[in-house]
Assembly symmetry: C2
Homo-oligomer: 120 residues x 2
């Protein structure tokens, strides 16, 4: 009746990069798993902060005036309105936390824009 | 300038049980670390869901009609309005996610009620 959400098991269910999958919702906040590899696009979320928690691997979040490297067990909150880009030299597995309805590319759009509300 | 939030390092900064420490905020949502050992109290959060993500160890969340066991890498969303109690036979380290202002004991009160907004 009550089942845990096992993140490692959920991560086996998809292989594509830059395509977050929703695994849980708390009120209007979504928890999404994603696999990053290579470089994303510069973009901004004008209306919300965005949380990255690295589960496996290593990634960088770069801003116009600096950057932060995140490894497994490390998290970071990108403040709303702050332009950023994400990169991972090899595959990095991440838990994203952000409000329902956030578009991954923000206002930048483009081919890396992922589907909304893709649950696994 | 930009620094990762290292959960393992933050967990070294406190030892008491059932006393969540805030490590990050995303909009009005707080991310808190906590150490659980023994049994908490039955309580309910009438206005919000509550997320538990186990980082180390094992815990149980019991409801009046069932229970779920969470181990490292597993999460669960307690729905708002659902009475529950948390237990851990030995120390369990947990990341909690819930709106700012949530009282850990809900409307139950009592000696296990923790301080709000205790940042580390």
């Amino acid at each position: 009746m009550y089942q845990p959400i096992n993140l490692a098991e959920k991560l086996t269910r998809f292989q594509d990069h830059w395509a977050p999958r929703v695994v849980a919702e708390m009120n209007d906040t979504q928890f999404k798993l994603a696999k990053f590899q290579g470089e994303f696009v510069w973009h901004v979320h004008e209306d919300t902060d965005e949380v990255f928690l690295v589960l496996h691997g290593e990634m960088e979040i770069a801003f116009r005036d600096g950057a932060v490297t995140l490894r497994a067990g490390e998290m970071f909150v990108v403040p709303k309105g702050r332009e950023h880009i994400t990169r991972a030299a090899s595959e990095c597995q991440v838990l994203l936390v952000e409000p329902r309805g956030v578009v991954n590319t923000g206002e930048a759009g483009g081919e890396l824009t992922a589907a909304q509300d893709a649950w696994i």
